[in-house]
Amino acid sequence: MRYIDEFRDAAAARGIRLRLDEHAAALRARGRRATIMEVCGSHTMAIARYGIRSVLPDVVRLVSGPGCPVCVTDTGYIDAALALAERGITVATFGDMLNVPGSDSSLARCRAAGGSVLVCYSPTQAFDHARAHPDREVVFLAIGFETTVAPIAALIHRAATEGVPNLSFLTAFKTVPPALAALGADPEIRIDAFLCPAHVSAIIGADAYRPFSGPGGVPCVIAGFEPLDILLGIDGILAQLAAGEARVENQYSRVVTPEGNPRALALMSRYLQPADAHWRGIGTIPASGLDLRPEFQRLDAAVRHGVAVTAGRSHPGCMCGDVLKGKHEPPDCRLFGRGCTPDHPIGPCMVSSEGTCAAWFKYARGALA
């Protein structure tokens, strides 16, 4: 299959692994180790699925970042969505959100009890549903990083211009660069480099990572989701670390450009503006979210239906917050694989198909050697 087979070539993988070993020897000689944060949930999943940790030199440690949009969505947001559904409003959502625990319930349980929850594969399904049921209020759960914000912005544009007055949006968008800034500044984590996301970068562009590179910064390498993409990304990072550099490098140039997708960015900024956002497990990061601009408040479900997104309650034993910051690995959590499994998730990182705990549970439980 084109664009797949050439990025899963065993011989090419062996060649890259030899280079990784050389870089690792250079780092070892300087008494250095490399802690690399992969920021994107799809990277986390691919790293686990291809067993990439098991082929890396021992001086390299991969830690997973907060790159799964479901995982970083606050409990209180789920509570607000449940409050809407309990009022008879149709809540339209991507399927990943269904089993995310709120303080006391989940959308899946709400639906089983008769609540109107519509699972969408594409945001346009919410639009079509709202248009087909003009007598019902429909709220779309608008979460995600830049990759998902772009198509939802297109939906917001349609709602604003095509006159579907019963469709509104409960926003909890997140943006990647402010999160990188916060994590990079956290003295407890000490990240040596970022493996930057593929699809998010297609929207925001490679230049968005410039503030984190350069003097005092860290290497930022954008990589695709295929196993060789990821190995090449790590190769680029180790080469920079071994040479004492900190540049932005775009390994995924077949998709990502320096400036990103200007049409998508223009559409997003027409309807949305930066706002402080609360990240589950991490806390509030300034200007790391996107809210509807004041002139489009009629599309804001929180305003229109008078619901407030307040801090929710999480399971006291759940370590998702530390996992999302890369401070702990999933097996460090007492609940991992015991009370908390993909069939019975307690924390959000086990719910989402891109969650770090789900990736570990599915592909890397126990030692693999």
């Binding site: 899963r8 065993a10 067993g51 098991s54 592909y363 693999l368």
Partner: protein, 342 residues
């Protein structure tokens, strides 16, 4: 006037019932023990021990690329007999029809059922037809039970599996699940996917000369190859190591699973066989299977590892060496991946 759809009266025991059975069942299956529609089939005495199984089929949609619920209902049951080391002989067929079912669809399903039974060398010996009101089932459900005679020479069981044994697949994996998913969701992504629904009993019979070397066989249906191997791992403390690059996959299934992020090892096959065998016999099994069209894609996909040292309960796992040289776990599918695939 002949009706074009099934009516409740077709199941009422009156004239319409009798007409339906005469026209659609007796014409197709009335030659053997069904002749004269007795209440029970009278079968000749068997010389070998019997194998006996039953399965219900509720696949949605009833017709999909590569097959339909009719041939599926034969293959599924015949294959269960075959992997138990049996030669399939007799089938019972129970039909549950929904009021409003187009009779044309019923005919296509029964034609496929008849052709599949003939190809598998099994005879429909007894049957039953019921009609339920609209909405009380989805078009058509079929139950089949199968009776077969045990082949000589096979002693199969998970407790015979040894470290060093090989795992052989008879062809591309996951095509049935992928085809049903694509048909149901009307997905047209990449190359077309066709269900692999088909019989495996000839592949089992082909192994008879090697029977002593075959430890275990299973058709990887619901839950796919991952579920078969994980059940063995969990119940018998076995550890399997698969080779990602060796797993046979059709282009269509590969494209679909890549795009949707599914693991083809979690998808069902309905015409494939997994065998665990002594290492010396693995190549011979692949050669033997490849002589048959239904085994053309046969390949050795992995091995059985020595039990893992460790504390606590003896519990095996399924591992996979990936194309980039890494190693990962192959788990059970999570939750209800795809309801009503068979």
């Amino acid at each position: 006037m002949s009706e074009s759809t099934i009516l409740l009266a077709h199941g009422g025991g009156g004239r319409l019932s009798r007409d339906l059975v005469q026209r659609e069942i007796v014409t197709r299956f009335g030659d053997g023990p069904l002749r004269g529609l007795p209440d029970a089939a009278r079968l000749p005495a068997f010389t070998r021990p019997l194998v006996f199984t039953t399965d219900s089929y509720v696949v949605q949609p009833a017709e999909f690329p590569g097959g339909c619920i009719g041939d599926l209902a034969v293959h599924g049951t015949v294959n269960d007999l075959a992997v138990s080391g049996g030669v399939p002989r007799w089938l019972s067929v129970g039909l549950i029809l929904e009021e409003g079912l187009p009779i044309e669809l019923l005919r296509r399903v029964l034609d496929a059922l008849q052709a599949a039974a003939r190809a598998c060398g099994v005879t429909v010996a007894t049957g039953d037809t019921k009609v339920v009101a609209r909405g009380q089932c989805d078009q058509i459900y079929i139950n089949t039970a199968g009776l077969g005679e045990a082949l000589e020479g096979f002693t199969l069981g998970p407790d015979r599996i040894r470290p060093g044994d090989c795992i052989v697949a008879s062809g591309t994996l996951g095509d049935h699940g992928a085809a049903v998913l694509a048909a149901r969701e009307k997905l047209a992504l990449g190359p077309a996917v066709r269900s692999d629904t088909g019989p495996v009993h000839r592949l089992v019979q082909a192994l008879q000369p090697l029977a002593g070397e075959v430890r275990f066989m299973r058709d990887p249906t619901r839950g796919g190859a991952a579920a078969v191997l994980n059940e063995l791992a969990e119940d018998h403390g076995l550890t399997f190591l698969l080779d990602d690059a060796a797993i046979p996959l059709s282009a269509g299934t590969r494209a679909l699973t890549e795009i949707l992020g599914l693991d083809p090892l979690h998808l069902a096959s309905e015409g494939r066989l997994l065998a665990v065998c002594a290492p010396a016999a693995a190549e011979a099994i692949v050669c033997e299977w490849r002589r048959h069209p239904e085994g053309a894609g046969a390949a050795i996909i992995g091995t059985v590892l020595a039990p893992e040292a460790g504390s606590g309960a003896r519990r095996g796992r399924v591992l996979m060496d990936t194309v980039v040289g890494g190693r990962r776990l192959v788990d059970f599918p999570q939750g209800e991946l795809l309801p009503r695939i068979c």
